[in-house]
Protein backbone atom coordinates (compact mmCIF):
# COMPACT_ATOMS: atom_id res chain seq x y z
CA UNK A 1 0.00 0.00 0.00
CA UNK A 2 1.22 3.51 -0.85
CA UNK A 3 1.73 5.51 2.34
CA UNK A 4 2.45 9.22 2.73
CA UNK A 5 3.46 10.39 6.22
CA UNK A 6 1.98 7.21 7.65
CA UNK A 7 -1.40 7.60 5.94
CA UNK A 8 -2.55 5.47 3.00
CA UNK A 9 -2.93 7.20 -0.37
CA UNK A 10 -4.83 5.79 -3.36
CA UNK A 11 -2.31 4.73 -6.00
CA UNK A 12 -2.90 5.83 -9.57
CA UNK A 13 -1.08 4.20 -12.52
CA UNK A 14 2.16 6.01 -13.58
CA UNK A 15 2.02 8.19 -10.48
CA UNK A 16 5.02 10.55 -9.94
CA UNK A 17 6.19 12.48 -6.89
CA UNK A 18 4.52 15.59 -8.35
CA UNK A 19 1.21 13.71 -8.59
CA UNK A 20 1.49 12.65 -4.93
CA UNK A 21 2.12 16.25 -3.86
CA UNK A 22 -0.91 17.42 -5.89
CA UNK A 23 -3.10 14.64 -4.47
CA UNK A 24 -2.17 15.57 -0.87
CA UNK A 25 -3.04 19.26 -1.52
CA UNK A 26 -0.10 20.55 0.55
CA UNK A 27 -0.45 24.22 1.30
CA UNK A 28 3.28 25.04 1.56
CA UNK A 29 5.36 25.19 -1.61
CA UNK A 30 8.68 24.02 -0.16
CA UNK A 31 8.87 20.36 0.76
CA UNK A 32 11.39 17.63 1.45
CA UNK A 33 10.45 14.31 -0.11
CA UNK A 34 11.91 10.92 0.78
CA UNK A 35 10.80 7.69 -0.84
CA UNK A 36 11.69 4.57 1.16
CA UNK A 37 14.35 6.64 2.91
CA UNK A 38 15.93 8.05 -0.27
CA UNK A 39 16.00 11.83 -0.71
CA UNK A 40 14.37 13.04 -3.94
CA UNK A 41 15.71 16.42 -5.17
CA UNK A 42 13.08 19.01 -6.13
CA UNK A 43 14.10 19.04 -9.80
CA UNK A 44 13.26 15.32 -10.04
CA UNK A 45 9.66 15.41 -8.74
CA UNK A 46 8.06 15.30 -12.23
CA UNK A 47 10.28 12.50 -13.47
CA UNK A 48 10.37 10.25 -10.37
CA UNK A 49 7.83 7.43 -10.44
CA UNK A 50 6.20 6.15 -7.27
CA UNK A 51 5.45 2.47 -6.75
CA UNK A 52 2.16 1.29 -5.27
CA UNK A 53 3.91 0.01 -2.13
CA UNK A 54 6.21 3.01 -1.49
CA UNK A 55 6.57 4.66 1.89
CA UNK A 56 6.87 8.40 1.35
CA UNK A 57 7.82 11.00 3.96
CA UNK A 58 7.06 14.60 3.10
CA UNK A 59 8.28 17.39 5.38
CA UNK A 60 7.05 20.98 5.09
CA UNK A 61 9.65 23.72 5.15
CA UNK A 62 8.06 26.73 6.79
CA UNK A 63 9.56 30.18 7.30
CA UNK A 64 10.52 31.07 10.84
CA UNK A 65 13.64 30.69 12.90
Amino acid sequence: MLKVNGEPLKYVKDMTVSDVIKAKKFSFPLLIVKIDGVYIPRESYDATPVSDDATIDIIHLISGG
Partner: protein, 281 residues
Protein backbone atom coordinates in the same frame (compact mmCIF):
# COMPACT_ATOMS: atom_id res chain seq x y z
CA UNK B 1 38.12 2.43 47.18
CA UNK B 2 38.36 4.19 43.78
CA UNK B 3 36.13 7.16 42.98
CA UNK B 4 36.21 9.99 40.44
CA UNK B 5 36.60 13.32 42.21
CA UNK B 6 36.38 16.38 39.96
CA UNK B 7 37.16 14.10 36.99
CA UNK B 8 40.30 12.58 38.55
CA UNK B 9 40.66 8.99 39.74
CA UNK B 10 41.15 9.23 43.48
CA UNK B 11 41.50 6.71 46.31
CA UNK B 12 38.84 7.44 48.91
CA UNK B 13 38.60 5.86 52.34
CA UNK B 14 35.58 3.53 52.43
CA UNK B 15 32.68 4.54 54.69
CA UNK B 16 33.46 8.25 55.02
CA UNK B 17 30.95 10.93 54.05
CA UNK B 18 31.30 13.40 51.18
CA UNK B 19 31.80 16.19 53.74
CA UNK B 20 34.73 14.30 55.25
CA UNK B 21 36.17 13.45 51.82
CA UNK B 22 35.97 17.13 50.82
CA UNK B 23 38.25 18.13 53.73
CA UNK B 24 41.05 16.17 52.04
CA UNK B 25 40.26 16.77 48.39
CA UNK B 26 38.58 20.18 48.16
CA UNK B 27 38.69 22.16 51.44
CA UNK B 28 35.93 24.73 51.68
CA UNK B 29 33.58 22.90 49.31
CA UNK B 30 29.94 23.70 50.05
CA UNK B 31 28.21 21.94 47.17
CA UNK B 32 28.39 18.15 46.84
CA UNK B 33 27.37 16.48 43.60
CA UNK B 34 27.18 12.72 43.32
CA UNK B 35 26.69 11.13 39.89
CA UNK B 36 25.16 14.29 38.47
CA UNK B 37 22.86 15.07 41.39
CA UNK B 38 23.33 17.40 44.40
CA UNK B 39 23.26 15.51 47.73
CA UNK B 40 23.79 16.22 51.43
CA UNK B 41 27.40 16.26 52.74
CA UNK B 42 26.48 13.35 55.01
CA UNK B 43 26.00 11.08 51.96
CA UNK B 44 28.44 8.18 51.89
CA UNK B 45 29.86 7.37 48.42
CA UNK B 46 30.59 3.86 47.17
CA UNK B 47 33.26 2.46 44.85
CA UNK B 48 33.04 3.84 41.30
CA UNK B 49 30.99 6.93 42.20
CA UNK B 50 31.57 10.18 40.34
CA UNK B 51 31.89 13.06 42.80
CA UNK B 52 32.19 16.79 42.16
CA UNK B 53 33.04 19.25 44.94
CA UNK B 54 32.26 22.91 44.29
CA UNK B 55 33.08 26.06 46.24
CA UNK B 56 30.06 28.25 45.59
CA UNK B 57 30.92 31.78 44.52
CA UNK B 58 34.57 31.01 43.72
CA UNK B 59 35.63 31.50 40.09
CA UNK B 60 37.48 28.35 39.02
CA UNK B 61 40.49 28.03 36.73
CA UNK B 62 39.79 27.09 33.11
CA UNK B 63 40.72 23.43 33.68
CA UNK B 64 38.55 23.23 36.78
CA UNK B 65 35.68 24.95 34.97
CA UNK B 66 35.52 22.20 32.36
CA UNK B 67 34.88 19.68 35.15
CA UNK B 68 32.59 21.79 37.32
CA UNK B 69 30.43 22.84 34.38
CA UNK B 70 29.59 19.19 33.78
CA UNK B 71 28.83 18.37 37.42
CA UNK B 72 25.06 18.24 36.81
CA UNK B 73 25.40 16.23 33.57
CA UNK B 74 24.48 12.58 33.51
CA UNK B 75 27.83 10.82 34.25
CA UNK B 76 29.71 9.93 31.06
CA UNK B 77 27.96 12.50 28.88
CA UNK B 78 30.65 15.15 29.06
CA UNK B 79 33.49 12.96 27.80
CA UNK B 80 31.43 11.86 24.82
CA UNK B 81 30.15 15.30 23.85
CA UNK B 82 33.66 16.77 24.04
CA UNK B 83 34.62 14.61 21.07
CA UNK B 84 31.68 15.78 18.93
CA UNK B 85 31.38 18.50 16.31
CA UNK B 86 28.07 20.12 15.36
CA UNK B 87 27.38 22.45 12.41
CA UNK B 88 24.80 25.22 12.72
CA UNK B 89 23.51 26.83 9.51
CA UNK B 90 22.09 30.21 10.48
CA UNK B 91 22.63 31.94 13.83
CA UNK B 92 19.24 33.56 14.39
CA UNK B 93 16.55 32.55 16.88
CA UNK B 94 17.12 28.84 16.35
CA UNK B 95 20.86 28.74 15.70
CA UNK B 96 22.02 31.06 18.50
CA UNK B 97 19.89 29.14 21.01
CA UNK B 98 21.03 25.71 19.80
CA UNK B 99 24.66 26.87 19.93
CA UNK B 100 24.42 28.08 23.52
CA UNK B 101 22.57 24.95 24.69
CA UNK B 102 25.27 22.77 23.16
CA UNK B 103 28.04 24.99 24.58
CA UNK B 104 26.51 24.56 28.04
CA UNK B 105 26.63 20.77 27.76
CA UNK B 106 30.26 20.98 26.65
CA UNK B 107 30.15 20.13 22.96
CA UNK B 108 33.72 19.88 21.64
CA UNK B 109 33.42 21.95 18.49
CA UNK B 110 30.81 24.13 16.79
CA UNK B 111 30.87 25.26 13.16
CA UNK B 112 28.71 28.41 12.98
CA UNK B 113 27.63 29.98 9.69
CA UNK B 114 25.74 33.26 9.25
CA UNK B 115 26.50 36.31 7.09
CA UNK B 116 24.22 38.72 8.94
CA UNK B 117 24.83 41.30 11.67
CA UNK B 118 22.91 41.71 14.93
CA UNK B 119 20.08 44.26 14.62
CA UNK B 120 17.54 45.41 17.24
CA UNK B 121 14.60 43.26 16.05
CA UNK B 122 16.73 40.14 16.65
CA UNK B 123 16.69 40.72 20.40
CA UNK B 124 13.08 39.51 20.80
CA UNK B 125 14.18 35.90 20.36
CA UNK B 126 17.88 35.59 19.57
CA UNK B 127 20.72 35.15 22.05
CA UNK B 128 22.31 38.57 21.51
CA UNK B 129 22.65 41.71 23.60
CA UNK B 130 22.24 45.46 23.03
CA UNK B 131 26.00 46.00 23.14
CA UNK B 132 26.37 43.49 20.26
CA UNK B 133 24.15 45.39 17.78
CA UNK B 134 26.07 45.84 14.52
CA UNK B 135 28.44 42.94 15.17
CA UNK B 136 28.53 39.93 12.88
CA UNK B 137 26.25 37.34 14.51
CA UNK B 138 28.93 34.65 14.36
CA UNK B 139 31.42 36.95 16.15
CA UNK B 140 28.87 37.98 18.80
CA UNK B 141 27.82 34.37 19.37
CA UNK B 142 31.41 33.16 19.59
CA UNK B 143 32.05 35.82 22.26
CA UNK B 144 28.97 34.77 24.26
CA UNK B 145 29.88 31.09 24.01
CA UNK B 146 33.34 31.92 25.38
CA UNK B 147 31.66 33.60 28.38
CA UNK B 148 29.75 30.37 29.11
CA UNK B 149 32.25 27.69 28.19
CA UNK B 150 35.67 28.71 26.88
CA UNK B 151 36.54 25.06 26.21
CA UNK B 152 34.24 24.95 23.15
CA UNK B 153 36.19 25.36 19.92
CA UNK B 154 34.25 27.61 17.55
CA UNK B 155 34.75 27.86 13.81
CA UNK B 156 32.87 30.90 12.50
CA UNK B 157 31.91 31.42 8.84
CA UNK B 158 30.52 34.82 7.88
CA UNK B 159 29.99 34.27 4.16
CA UNK B 160 26.50 33.50 2.92
CA UNK B 161 25.75 29.79 2.61
CA UNK B 162 25.01 28.84 -1.01
CA UNK B 163 24.65 25.43 -2.71
CA UNK B 164 28.33 25.45 -3.69
CA UNK B 165 29.85 26.03 -0.23
CA UNK B 166 27.59 23.98 2.10
CA UNK B 167 29.68 20.84 1.56
CA UNK B 168 33.03 22.50 2.33
CA UNK B 169 31.81 24.46 5.38
CA UNK B 170 30.17 21.46 7.08
CA UNK B 171 32.26 18.54 5.85
CA UNK B 172 33.74 17.78 9.29
CA UNK B 173 30.58 17.94 11.43
CA UNK B 174 28.94 14.91 13.04
CA UNK B 175 25.46 16.46 12.95
CA UNK B 176 24.18 19.45 10.96
CA UNK B 177 21.49 21.75 12.37
CA UNK B 178 19.35 23.73 9.94
CA UNK B 179 18.53 27.01 11.67
CA UNK B 180 17.52 29.46 8.96
CA UNK B 181 14.56 31.82 9.10
CA UNK B 182 13.40 31.69 5.46
CA UNK B 183 11.87 28.54 3.96
CA UNK B 184 13.77 28.89 0.67
CA UNK B 185 17.05 28.95 2.61
CA UNK B 186 16.01 25.85 4.57
CA UNK B 187 15.25 24.10 1.26
CA UNK B 188 18.62 25.17 -0.20
CA UNK B 189 20.50 23.79 2.80
CA UNK B 190 18.65 20.46 2.94
CA UNK B 191 19.10 19.94 -0.79
CA UNK B 192 22.83 20.76 -0.75
CA UNK B 193 23.47 18.70 2.41
CA UNK B 194 21.51 15.66 1.24
CA UNK B 195 23.43 15.67 -2.06
CA UNK B 196 26.85 16.21 -0.41
CA UNK B 197 26.48 13.92 2.61
CA UNK B 198 23.32 11.77 2.48
CA UNK B 199 24.36 9.83 5.60
CA UNK B 200 25.00 12.83 7.88
CA UNK B 201 22.22 13.46 10.42
CA UNK B 202 20.34 16.69 9.69
CA UNK B 203 18.10 18.38 12.29
CA UNK B 204 15.59 20.91 10.94
CA UNK B 205 13.30 23.46 12.54
CA UNK B 206 9.99 24.01 10.75
CA UNK B 207 6.89 25.75 12.09
CA UNK B 208 7.33 27.80 15.27
CA UNK B 209 5.66 31.18 14.70
CA UNK B 210 3.17 32.68 17.15
CA UNK B 211 2.66 31.49 20.71
CA UNK B 212 1.00 28.70 22.70
CA UNK B 213 0.22 25.32 21.21
CA UNK B 214 2.98 23.56 23.14
CA UNK B 215 1.38 20.20 22.40
CA UNK B 216 1.52 20.78 18.64
CA UNK B 217 5.33 21.06 18.67
CA UNK B 218 6.79 17.68 17.88
CA UNK B 219 9.83 15.83 16.55
CA UNK B 220 9.50 13.70 13.45
CA UNK B 221 12.29 11.43 12.21
CA UNK B 222 12.65 10.25 8.62
CA UNK B 223 15.92 8.36 8.20
CA UNK B 224 18.82 10.80 8.67
CA UNK B 225 16.45 13.80 8.74
CA UNK B 226 14.77 15.01 11.93
CA UNK B 227 12.28 17.87 11.87
CA UNK B 228 11.29 19.78 15.00
CA UNK B 229 8.30 22.15 15.10
CA UNK B 230 4.61 22.09 14.27
CA UNK B 231 5.15 22.01 10.45
CA UNK B 232 2.21 24.41 10.26
CA UNK B 233 2.71 27.85 11.82
CA UNK B 234 4.52 30.03 9.31
CA UNK B 235 6.10 33.40 10.06
CA UNK B 236 3.95 35.72 7.92
CA UNK B 237 2.61 39.29 8.23
CA UNK B 238 0.26 39.02 11.19
CA UNK B 239 2.08 36.13 12.86
CA UNK B 240 5.46 36.92 14.38
CA UNK B 241 8.37 34.99 15.82
CA UNK B 242 8.93 35.24 19.57
CA UNK B 243 11.39 33.91 22.10
CA UNK B 244 9.30 31.21 23.85
CA UNK B 245 8.09 29.18 20.88
CA UNK B 246 11.26 29.63 18.79
CA UNK B 247 13.28 28.78 21.90
CA UNK B 248 11.32 25.57 22.52
CA UNK B 249 11.94 24.37 18.97
CA UNK B 250 15.63 25.33 19.19
CA UNK B 251 15.97 23.31 22.38
CA UNK B 252 14.11 20.40 20.77
CA UNK B 253 16.75 20.55 18.04
CA UNK B 254 19.63 20.71 20.55
CA UNK B 255 18.06 17.84 22.50
CA UNK B 256 17.78 15.75 19.35
CA UNK B 257 21.45 16.51 18.56
CA UNK B 258 22.37 15.06 21.97
CA UNK B 259 20.29 11.97 21.24
CA UNK B 260 22.00 11.52 17.87
CA UNK B 261 25.44 11.87 19.46
CA UNK B 262 24.84 9.84 22.63
CA UNK B 263 22.14 7.38 21.61
CA UNK B 264 18.83 7.12 23.46
CA UNK B 265 18.70 8.13 27.12
CA UNK B 266 18.25 4.60 28.42
CA UNK B 267 19.79 5.48 31.75
CA UNK B 268 23.36 4.48 30.92
CA UNK B 269 24.68 7.03 33.41
CA UNK B 270 22.03 6.60 36.06
CA UNK B 271 22.68 2.88 36.55
CA UNK B 272 25.18 3.98 39.18
CA UNK B 273 22.60 5.82 41.19
CA UNK B 274 19.42 3.88 40.55
CA UNK B 275 17.80 2.84 43.79
CA UNK B 276 20.19 4.86 45.95
CA UNK B 277 19.74 8.54 45.23
CA UNK B 278 16.80 8.73 42.84
CA UNK B 279 14.67 10.41 45.48
CA UNK B 280 17.09 13.32 45.84
CA UNK B 281 17.26 14.17 42.11
Amino acid sequence: MKCRINERDVEVEGGISLGEAAEAHCPGADLFILNGCPVAPTTVPVEGDSIVFIRRGATPSLEELDVLLAARHTPGVHMRLKKACVGIAGCGGLGSTVALALARVGIGRLVLADFDVVEPSNLNRQQYYIDQIGMLKVDALEATIARVNPAVRVEAWSEKLVPTNVASVFTGVDVLVEAFDRADQKAMLVDAAMKAFPDKPLVLGSGMAGWGGNDRLRTRVSGTITVCGDETNEAVPGRGLMAPRVGIVAHMQANRVMELLLGPDDGFGSKLVRGRFDETC
